[in-house]
Point group: C2
Chain length 124, copies 2
DNA sequence: TGCAAGTATGCAGTATACTACATACTTTAA
DNA sequence: TTAAAGTATGTAGTATACTGCATACTTGCA
């Protein structure tokens, strides 16, 4: 069980950002009832997994709301199995679209590089 | 040569957003000197190419500044050849990183789906 | 023991990327 | 010809995602 500072150090996400994510409902920790002197919050490995997922998803342009959709059904059982699958399928489709876009961008940039190397300038 | 409305219709980008992009220096049109009755701005195919690139890059989480770095050297010759290559290489590296992240996300989400289908709940 | 460092909470401020609104002029089509 | 639609410009407002500051209490270490 980690405190917020450790969470921050291990993920590289600033504490302020972590608090913002927690307030946004992306993850949550627990207080230890046996500790009465303070109200520190503790986080488990589940939280670390979620944070690593959040970092990946953010890096490829998913919004916090889109990420929350997925992370939510990670551990919740309230929605139906089909509803869960639907959320995941929607995100999988977006991932495939983003991959196609990355491939197209890569091709375009590589072409641009070749053209620069050939001193012809414009990559169109 | 297209007017802004046509640009918007062909790309699906709202006019307000296009004006914002143009003001941000992502692209620019030209006024026709032979037309004196108005100051309408016309855009060529070069602009359309830039817009298509902007759309792809935005979809995979690049910022407008990162996009501008690339789009700028599309048609400018002021910076050295090596500086141009450097900008492109930086973006190519980002693209590879994003692709790896998409692949990891996809794997994770697919695993999650399998686990839901198996009614075991948690995909870890 | 005392003080720096860590934690919780709340609220204000910032950066990025739009989005809407107001004004004024131009073009187009009934 | 006149009203609707298009264009230019500027300014203000909004949404998302942080980021910083202030306050107050707790922990850990010299």
């Amino acid at each position: 069980m980690k405190l917020i500072n450790q969470l921050s150090k291990e993920t590289g996400i600033p504490i302020g950002t972590l608090r913002f994510y927690e307030k946004s409902g992306l993850f949550s920790g627990k207080r230890k009832t046996e500790v009465t002197s303070n109200n520190y919050v503790y986080y488990d490995e589940e939280v670390m997994e979620k944070l690593r997922f959040i970092q990946m998803a953010k890096a490829v342009g998913f919004t916090l709301v889109e990420i929350k959709d997925v992370v939510d059904l990670w551990y919740k059982k309230e929605i139906t199995q089909q509803a869960q699958i639907n959320v995941l399928d929607r995100r999988l489709k977006q991932i495939d679209e983003k991959m196609a876009e990355l491939k197209a961008m890569k091709k375009q940039i590589e072409l641009c590089k070749v053209n620069i190397a050939n001193r012809r300038g414009n990559p169109g």
